[in-house]
């Protein structure tokens, strides 16, 4: 789900498990999409550090 909501931020490995594509701080323009990915993650697996 996260890779659909925020494809710039999340990808998936060979098994389809989510991976984070961006190292370090998130660019401002991706904040909203990343928050949406977090709010829709069925496993509640995304933590955004501020």
């Amino acid at each position: 789900m996260c890779s659909i909501a925020a494809p710039e931020v999340f990808g998936s490995d060979e098994l389809g498990h989510a991976t984070v594509l961006i190292e370090g701080d998130l660019p401002e323009h991706l904040h909203a999409k990343t928050r949406r990915a977090q709010a829709n993650c069925p496993e509640d697996a995304i933590i955004i550090e501020e």
Partner: protein
């Protein structure tokens, strides 16, 4: 209590006597789910159909899904299968990994996950789009069609056939076998067994063929050849083929059908997506939440008290994902379809180690099927709302759903 006659009396109190095959519940289960969820007994119990528990709150359903050691997947059907012993040579063939528990579950699932990763299913998008267009070509000039049988029903079965590398003229038979297992078969064990055997017999021949004539980029060949990493047996590969049919056809077809049924009655939602195509990702999730097709079951491993309910080893629990997805404690205005809903941690695909392995494929099929329909047939409505027929029990969705355009 396994026959229709024994189980179909009137329901007075759904918290102690619900009947998931009651015609009214099959047609529209949400009011009953809500009644149970907001009662003093949000985990209902019934003696019908061999007995089961029915958790309806989001937190309870998720907690049970996560506790896979106590709530096992030794049986995942919503009714007991009294003919289990009678299955003869096919008794050991399950539907891994959905029917597996740890430790085997880990490799059962690991072997099929790459097939369903987002980048792997993306290659089916164009083929699915072409298929949807061909189906619509077949009826668009008539001004009327059955969005269920002429469209929704036709899509997942052909996508799955392509993935399995089997002839696509098998589509009607596959649909009939899967309905035999998942719809009619839930209340008729003879029909269930017959259709299960048809599926297994068909794939036994496909396996024999792949052993003689291995193919490149072929799921069945690849699974048969993964024995260097895991103890892969014919039974496992047959089980996966069985799973692809059982889990991949009726389910997605129901989600496509329910969504079209919804759009037929909501011109404002059709317009909203036409005006703002960026909404598709949230819209697909919202339709999955509001019209979750699947209810899975778990079997209790040992006596345990869960939320005050005295559950015994061997008890069946129905994972009411559709009820959890309309819990007002988790979702604001849960009975309303809000295509741009921002907070939507729905469990239409389950939760925990058995979360649907095919969810990326299901999402793709649902989105493409709806996009193509709305592009080609932007305005349509139900011919007769009362004439729509529904399947229920394990999978909820419309079957006959005539629309005019």
């Amino acid at each position: 209590m396994t026959t229709v006659e024994e189980n179909s009396g009137p329901v007075t109190d759904p918290t102690s006597d619900y009947n998931i095959f009651d015609p009214e519940f099959v047609r529209d289960p949400y009011p009953t789910m809500s009644e149970i969820r907001e009662s003093k007994c949000p985990i209902a119990h019934t003696d019908r159909w061999g007995g089961s528990w029915f958790p309806t709150r989001y937190d309870d359903v998720v907690a049970i899904a996560q506790e896979h050691e106590i709530f096992t997947s030794r049986s995942i059907t919503v009714t007991a299968s009294p003919l289990r012993q009678a299955e003869g040579p096919y008794a050991g063939i399950a539907a891994p990994p959905i029917t597996s528990d740890p430790p085997d579950h880990h490799w059962h699932r690991r072997l099929i996950l790459p097939v369903f990763a987002p980048q792997s299913v993306a290659k089916y998008e164009q083929g699915t789009r072409d298929l949807c267009n061909r189906l619509i070509d077949g009826f668009i000039d008539k001004g009327e069609a059955d969005a269920g049988t002429d469209y929704a029903q036709q899509i997942p079965v052909r996508v799955i056939s392509a993935m399995l590398g089997v002839r696509d003229d098998m589509a009607d038979e596959f649909v009939s076998w899967v309905r035999g297992v998942l719809e009619v078969g839930l209340t008729d064990p003879i029909v269930r067994l017959e259709n299960r055997n048809k599926i297994i017999n068909f794939f036994r021949e496909e396996l024999a063929d792949r052993k003689k004539n291995p193919r490149e980029n072929d799921l069945i060949t690849d699974l048969l050849n993964s024995g260097d990493k895991y103890p892969v047996t014919d039974q496992y590969v047959l089980g996966v083929c069985n799973l692809m049919l059982i889990a991949g056809i009726d389910t997605t077809w129901s989600a496509i059908g329910s969504s079209l049924w919804h759009f037929a009655q909501h011109p404002e939602h059709r317009k909203q997506l036409r005006d703002n195509p960026d909404l598709w990702p949230t819209a697909v999730e919202e339709l999955l939440r509001a019209y979750s097709p699947v209810t899975m079951a778990r079997l209790v491993d040992r006596d345990i008290e869960f939320q005050g309910c005295p559950m015994k080893a061997g008890d069946r629990i129905l994972m009411a994902f559709p009820a959890a997805n309309r819990d007002p404690r988790q979702f604001e205005n849960p009975d309303e379809v809000i295509l741009d809903r921002q907070h939507n941690r729905h469990v239409a695909f389950g939760s925990g180690i058995h979360r649907c392995a095919g969810s990326n494929l299901a999402r793709l099929e649902l989105r493409v099927a709806l996009q193509v329909w709305l592009e080609r047939i932007p305005e349509f409505s139900l011919v007769d709302p009362a004439a729509v027929t529904w399947a229920g029990g394990q999978v909820h969705g419309p079957r006959v759903c005539r629309v005019r355009f």
